[in-house]
Structures are given as C-alpha cells and as structure tokens.
C-alpha cells in the first residue's frame, strides 16, 4: 500500500513484478465482454462470402441471378466491381478474385442480405463456371523451372516496403544473407550434416472467428468495428485502396478473442467496405464461419528447408548454408516479410562466422499466409535445431553442452552482421544453465526404456528479433482525472496477452502510484487513441511502453510546475509519487495530485494550470533496411533468447506418445507481471506443442483442404497438457522500459524442434517433418527399414 512510512517519508510500492489481475477480469468471467460479433445494430445487413472450390482455375462466368431472386438479398458483389490490388509489402491480391482463383477457399463473390442465413443461402446459389488450371502444391514444386505460374504479372505489382519478387517465377521475395567466407568455413568444418525439413501450413485457430462491421456515413466517414491486431493499418489500407482521407476512416477494436498474428492481416475489412458501399453505405457485418476462417482467411506459413551445417572436430560451428522455401500460398501478404525474418535469424542463436542463406517466399496454390506467433522463427528454428542436434550427435557431445559452447554472445555478429552486446542480446548461456537445473538435465538419463515405453528428452535454443518497419512506433496520452486517477490512452490491442494491464503497471511504476488508480479502456478507437503501429511482434510493451514513459515524464513536468508555484519552490526541488508532489528533501511535505490534476485553485478563486495531460511517443531507433546482396543491416532493437526442453513417452507399439514435460527458460529482460509472463510462455508452448504434434492442413491432390473443422483439424485439449516448467533470466535491454524484452511469441518458437529432437531420440529415426503424428513416426521407421 502507498502512504507515509514511519519516518514521515513517502512509502512507494513497486508495480513491477506484481501479478495484478487483468483489468477486464470480471467482464471475462461473467460473459458481458463485447467482442465485435457481440455488438448489434438494428437494421444491420449481413455479408457472406462465396468461395472457390478449386485451388487454381480461370473464372469463366459468375451467375448470381438465382441468388438475387431470394427475398432479402440486397446485392451480389464480384471482383470486377472493385478491381483493386491489396497487400503489403507487395500489392498482389484482389480482395475478391478477378479472372482467376489461386486457392481453394478464395472469395469469388459477396452477398449482402437482410439476414445472415439468407446471405448464406444466396452465396450457395451463386453459380461460377471455372476452367481448371494446373496447381502448384508445394514450395519445392513452385521453384521448379517449368512450374505453372501463380502470378503472371508479378512485375507489375506495386511495392509498399522492400521486397524482391522475381517475375517469371513463383518467387514473391528473396532475402540473401552473405556473411564471411564459405570456402573457408567448409574447409574448417571437420563434420558436416545436411537436413531437409518440411512444415505444412496450418491455422491460427483463434477461438473468435474474424469479424468486421463497416458503415459509410453520409459525410463520407467510414466506421469499422473489427477484430484486429492492426486497427491503424486498417485505417491506412482502406484510405489508400479507396482514396479516402485517412482521418475519415475510423476503426474500433474491442477486446479480441485471440489472434496469434492471424488478425494482423487486413482482409475482412476490404470486403466489408465493398459490401457497405454496394448497399449505399448501410452498416454491414461480415463474420467468418469456422470453415471459412480456416481456409479463406490467411493462415500460418509453411516451410520446406535445407540446412547444411559444419563444425570443427571440437564441435565449434564454422559454416552453414541454408535454403528456406516458405509456403506463402497464393498471395504474399506478410509471408514476404516472414521469409526475410527467416533469413535475419537463420543461424539460430549461435556464433557462425560463415553464412550463406537464401530465404524465399514462394507462391503456391495454397491459402495465403500471414503473420503467425513467432513470425518465421518456429519454422527456421525447427530446421536449424534439427541440424544442430544431428551435429552434436556426430561429434558425440551432449546436445545442451554443444549449444552452450556455440551460444552467440556480446561481440559476435548476427547473420545481418549486426554487432551484439549484452543489452541487445540477452544471456543465452545463462538460459541454458538454468534450463539444465530446471529439468535435472545432468542427473537424469536422456533416454530410458521401460518395456514398450521409451522416455526421451530433447532440447533446443531460440532467438528472435522483431523485424518491424524501421519507423514502427507508438504514441500515448495520459489524462489526469480530478481525483488524481489517470486515463491511459494508447493503441495497443488487448488480444488476451494482458498488454493493456501490463502497460498500466509500467505507468504506475513510473509515476510511483497505485496501479488501481490507472484506468484503461478495453478497446482501441483510432479516432481518439494515439497511433500504435500494430499489436504484433511482441512489440507493444516496448513501443507503447516507451511512449507511456515519455508521456509520464511530460506529465511529471506539468505536475511539478503547478506544484512549484503552490509550494513556492523550484520544480527541481520536487518529486512525484504516491499520489503526491512533495519536497525531495522533506517527503512528508507535499500536495496531493488531486488538488492540482485539473489546475490549482487558490482560496481566493484564482486558478493556475489546467488539466494535466501527458503526451509521449516513441519510434524504433537506428534500424536500417537490409542490403539486398548481403543482408547487411540492423533489423531490430534487441534479440530475445531462450532454451527449451521437451520430455516424451513414446509407445513403440503404435508410435503414439505422451508429452510429459515441457520447459522454457527465457531472457525476459525484466518480468513485469509474473503470472502473465508465465501464462504467455506456457500458452505459447501449448500452441507450439499442438502445432508440432498434430496441426496441419491436409490437402487432397487437387489442393482442396479436407480438414477445415476442429473435428478433423485437431487442437490440444484439456488434460493433454504436460507438466510445465518456466523460468526467467533478466538481462536488461537498455532501450526498453525497465529493461523488458518481448516474450509473447517466444514460448512457441522452439517447441516443434524440441519435440522433434525428443521423439527422434526416442524412436531412433530422424524426424524432420511436421506434424509429428504417430503415423509420421511409423512411416519414417517403416521407410527406413
């Protein structure tokens, strides 16, 4: 509690390191939370999407006459009605297919009707005649010289950010890393391994399906309510695509029911806008069914990769040559950037001086990919960590020791030749050391046979930087209420991660006040909240947090200047804390903030100052774009590092297995809210284990997805959770609020690799293909004999 201590000083408790509950706790357990689809407006029209049943086909005709005959149907919209191309960095995607479809599930028409079931009924009656085209069904196939082209006019697409498409091929983006001298690297490599891995595309599977409403007001304002991680990007994208001044696009984002990257893409909003425009600006709602959400909206990226890795006789990593073929699907979207991220951190957190990497985003006739928790890293980590395990085995070294010995450190450089120091890197050796003791690594066997059950443990390390635009930034405003409480305004979206609560803790710490006195709304409104780039990349506490600290500094100056007049001293004599402005040298003497928060009124009525409003902003510092030939540059402000382990129990009768334990040690820089931090990490681990053990889109030989429901697309359920072990290292990142590092995605990153490493040890065969289903293990064993 706050107050005066016995000696008359100001006693201030810290908000950092406290597990305060989510601000919206009671809303969430009583069912009164309003997600986008819970908001109703009388007279709202409903929109449904008609989707393509083919992976690659020419659209010959679209006949909507039967659909239009249904009473209640207002309009049918096709791609030709709005012939625009969207997407960033590469504008390659018509929101509704034009002339041809490039994936199974691609929107081919929209129906607007007065009731949702009528819209669905009509969507079912739209008749489209297609002429089938040969489909490209894997990124390796896409790279073949004679592969059919997914995009014939690649050269004509507008580029919004750096991206290097290769017209005449299916390469949407290529990032090159050229570091050191490969010849020398291989010469010094006594041992080399080469692995080929595949990870199929899968789904974000947030429990809330994507949902969006749009309305165009008579004065031209466009109002959206969207379940999105990027309300400010919606504003920009709609403004650019439809030539509307940006201030006339207003986006409301209430609490979001999970997103994991999938709701950072702008997709539904284009459709909802078109639908509203087609019916004279009426309010319309578009909500995905689960099936459409899985196959039509963007998905988790896939990867086919080859990693060649070499080390000296003593086990020192010397060289690596990497080919990443990311499965970007039919449109590049953020897949183009994810493939770049896959290059930036391609080596994993190891010192390797000689690196050659080509990381490609490939077009295929699969659903298109967008950001997914880990942004290209779970994929690259799976590839690299399989190779590292293999190499450690080859030199006959303990896999954690091998990683410890090769851990990247201050003074080393990344694949992008960024110089690392303790602040921008964190402490991987410490994470490995803590992991060892957390799971009794040295004291328990790594493999233990008990009849037909084999227990085995696998490990991995990870790192990740954020690879944002070099100008990504955020703003914050803090508004003082007459009682000295504060309204915090910012653009970070609450997607379940607890950011908005954690941000109040940062502000409370800075102002040395009770966090319960800081109010924050649950939702974001682009009309009133300061801009925040996007709620992605585990960057919100960094960008918005820094903006908030700057806003707090601004408010402190204002508070002190009002108080100095009242207290007849200099502002520099004063300090702020515990709801007061007080003398530094006589803390018991001060003025309570509620007396000055809206200006100070003297007894005679004269008033000085006014409402205290702190404003702050922050943008990324010193980031540079990458050299297109070598990849040299500075992609992100810091790297979060960590080490992970998984223990499995494999039943060798049918190759089913249980995940018994899973552990993560992560350098969090500074843990703000321990309960949130653990929950973010275990939640990520759970998602990673689910992904690695069972999640994949299954395609038939024509490229149609055969498991677009949770009945056949399985997710981990209650009771399957392993025992979780989580610990933190705290190496401050000097540029971040209180030294914190991003941790929202990282629990997931190494889980596929650690699971594969444990199962490989248990099964005695190399398991390099996800998902690691019992059938996959059985087939690998079966094929190897």
């Amino acid at each position: 509690m706050l107050g005066y201590d016995e000696k008359g000083g100001v006693k201030i408790s810290s908000s950092l390191g406290k597990s305060i509950p989510r601000k919206e706790t009671w809303e969430k357990v009583t069912g009164i939370t309003r997600y986008v689809n819970d908001i109703s407006t009388p007279g709202l029209f409903h929109v449904k999407i008609a989707i393509s049943p083919h992976a690659h086909a020419k659209i010959i005709t679209i006949d909507s006459s039967e659909a239009m005959k249904i009473p209640g149907v207002k309009e049918v919209i096709t791609g030709r009605d709005f012939p625009i191309l969207t997407g960033s960095p590469l504008a390659d995607r018509p929101p509704i297919a034009i002339d041809k479809v490039r994936y199974y599930g691609e929107p081919v028409a929209l129906v607007v009707a007065d009731q949702d079931y009528i819209a669905e009924m009509a969507a079912n009656r739209i008749k489209v005649v297609y002429e089938l085209l040969p489909a490209v069904l894997s990124p390796r196939e896409a790279l073949q010289k004679n592969a059919p082209l997914v995009h014939e006019r690649l050269a004509e697409y507008k580029q919004h950010e750096e991206v290097y498409p290769e017209p005449g091929t299916n390469v949407a983006n290529r990032t090159k890393i050229r570091k050191g001298n490969m010849e020398e690297g291989w010469r010094k490599s006594h041992h080399t391994v080469e692995v080929e891995v595949t990870l199929p595309q899968s789904d974000h599977a947030a429990m809330e399906m994507r949902c969006c409403t749009a309305e165009i007001m008579p004065d031209g304002k466009v109002i959206f309510h969207s379940a999105s991680q990027s309300p400010f990007v919606i504003r920009r994208a709609i403004s650019q695509s439809f030539h509307i001044p940006i201030h006339k696009v207003i986006v409301h984002t209430p609490l979001v029911g999970g997103s994991f990257g999938g709701k950072s893409a702008i997709q539904m909003e284009f459709l909802a806008y078109m639908a509203s425009r087609a019916v004279g600006g009426r309010a319309v709602k578009l909500v995905n069914s689960r099936e459409v959400d899985m196959i039509s909206s963007p998905v988790h990226i896939g990867l086919d990769a080859t990693v060649k890795l070499g080390c000296t006789r003593e086990g020192k990593l010397m060289a690596t040559e990497i080919l990443h073929l990311y499965d970007g699907g039919a449109y590049s979207d953020r897949g183009a950037v994810m493939s770049r991220s896959g290059a930036i951190d391609c080596t994993g957190p190891y010192r390797i001086d000689n690196v050659h990497c080509d990381s490609l985003c490939m077009y295929t006739n699969h659903p298109y990919s967008t950001s997914y928790r880990g942004f290209g890293h779970p994929e690259l980590t799976f590839a690299m960590e399989r190779a590292v395990d293999l190499l450690a085995n080859l030199v006959n070294m303990d896999p954690l020791e091998f990683r410890f010995n090769n851990a990247i450190g201050p003074g080393d450089t990344t694949p992008t030749q960024t110089l690392l120091d303790r602040s921008n890197l964190g402490d991987l050796p410490m994470c490995i050391a803590k992991l060892k003791s957390l799971i009794d690594w040295d004291d328990l066997p790594h493999r233990k046979i008990d009849g037909h059950l084999i227990k085995a443990r696998g490990v991995c390390c990870f790192w990740k930087t954020s690879d944002t635009p070099t100008d990504a930034g955020a703003g914050a405003v803090i508004v003082f209420n007459p009682d000295g409480s504060i309204n915090l305004l910012c653009g970070a979206v609450e997607i379940g991660q607890g950011t908005r609560t954690a941000l109040t803790q940062l502000l409370a710490e800075k102002l040395r006040m009770d966090d319960q006195m800081i109010h924050i709304s649950t939702g974001v409104n682009t009309e009133t909240d300061p801009q925040h780039w996007k709620t992605v990349a585990s960057r919100s506490t960094f960008l918005v947090g820094n903006a908030i600290l700057n806003a707090a500094d601004d408010a402190i100056v204002q508070l002190k200047s009002i108080a100095a007049i009242v207290m007849q001293c200099l502002p520099t004599d004063l300090d702020v804390g515990a709801g007061k402005v007080f003398f530094k040298d006589r803390p018991a003497k001060g003025i309570s903030i509620d007396k000055i928060a809206n200006g100070y009124k003297f007894p005679n009525g004269n008033t000085i100052g006014g409402q205290v409003i702190g404003r702050g902003s922050y943008a990324m510092r010193n980031l540079t774009s990458l050299d297109p030939e070598t990849g040299k540059g500075n992609p992100g402000p810091e790297w979060t590092v960590g080490a992970q382990a998984v223990e499995v129990e494999l039943n060798t009768k049918e190759y089913t297995y249980k995940i018994v334990k899973a552990a993560t040690v992560i350098d969090a820089g500074k843990v703000i809210n321990p309960e949130f931090a653990r929950s973010q990490v275990t939640g990520g681990m759970s998602m990673g284990l689910s992904l690695a053990s069972r999640e994949a889109f299954l395609f038939n030989d024509q490229g149609a997805i055969i498991n677009p429901q949770f009945r056949t697309y399985k997710l981990i359920r209650y009771g399957e959770q392993p025992q979780y072990f989580v610990d933190f290292v705290e190496t401050p990142h000097l540029e971040a609020p209180y030294g914190l590092r991003g941790i929202g995605e990282h629990g997931l990153i190494g889980m596929p690799a650690a699971l594969a490493n444990s199962l490989t040890l248990a099964a005695g065969v190399e398991l390099n293909h996800l998902p690691l289903t019992p059938e996959m293990i059985w087939r690998t064993i079966h094929d190897s004999v």
Partner: protein, 157 residues
C-alpha cells in the same frame, strides 16, 4: 423486398430464471436465438459444429452445445447461460487463477464446469478431464484452468 417471414414457431422457456416467449424459425439455432433475440451474447460461437464448446449452456442442468440445438427443441425447458451465474465458486476460481487470456472460450468453460459441480460435486480428476475436454482454449496452456478447477473441486494442486 424483405426475406420470408418464417419465424412462426412459438417457443416458451426459462433462461436464467426469466420466462421467455418468442417466435423463431424451426431452423433457428439455440445459440443464435440466445445471442440475437435475447441479447445473451456471453455464449460464443467458435465453430457452430459442436467441436469447441464455446457455446456451452446448461439445459435442465446439463451442459449442452447450444450451436447444435434447435431453439424449438428447448420449448418448456430451463436454461442457464453464463449471464445467469454471479459470483459462483467457478467464476471466483477462474478469477483467482486468471484461468483465461482472451476470454472467448471462458463462458463455455465456466458453464461446463458449473454443470459438473452441480451434477457431480465430488468429481475426480479423470471425470473432470472427460467433461472439460469438450471445450477448447487456444490461449492458455490449460494449466491455469486446471488450477482453477482444482480449487473448485478441492483437489490437490
């Protein structure tokens, strides 16, 4: 022209202790009647296919997936939705353990857990698993939910 008026089936039921008489289409799904006609939006749509449990409500005390039930089927029945629970031990345990992140699956989990507590107040670990595996949570690791459930059923952590 407006859509056909096919809402011609009168249905009477009790939800959260309140009597309701409404007219619906025979094809209307209970989840959407609760949400759209009665404003009880606490029950969520996560799959509309009976696979995820976000829409779970109690019908005559039993957890039911309201996305797989016609509204006409509950004529004469008693229902409880998340809105009908206030300060229940289950809700308190979810609060204490912060057994949610985004909160979207939470009403379904809480209602299911409440149904279990009413039907089998001394449920063991295995029974709890069998009941709760009807619901999917994508954000948490289930560890938090397990801790909450253990508080409710006074099991050892």
């Amino acid at each position: 022209m407006s859509s056909l008026d096919s809402a011609k089936y009168p249905v009477e039921f009790e939800v959260n202790g309140e009597k309701q008489t409404i007219r619906v289409r025979a094809a209307d799904i209970l989840l959407y009647t609760l949400r759209d006609n009665l404003g009880l939006t606490g029950s969520k749509s996560g799959c509309d296919n009976g696979d995820c449990g976000a829409c779970t409500i109690l019908v005559e005390g039993f957890p039911i997936k309201s996305c797989l039930m016609l509204t006409v089927e509950v004529d004469g029945k008693q229902m409880t939705t998340i809105e009908g629970l206030r300060n229940s031990p289950v809700q308190n345990a979810f609060v204490k353990n912060q057994a949610f992140q985004c909160g979207y699956c939470t009403p379904g989990f809480i209602v299911n857990c409440e149904g279990l507590r009413n039907k089998l107040p001394h449920a063991d670990k295995e029974t709890i698993r069998v009941w709760l595996e009807s619901n999917i949570c994508r954000c948490t690791s289930y560890e938090e939910i397990r801790n909450a459930v253990k508080d409710v059923f006074s099991l050892e952590k």
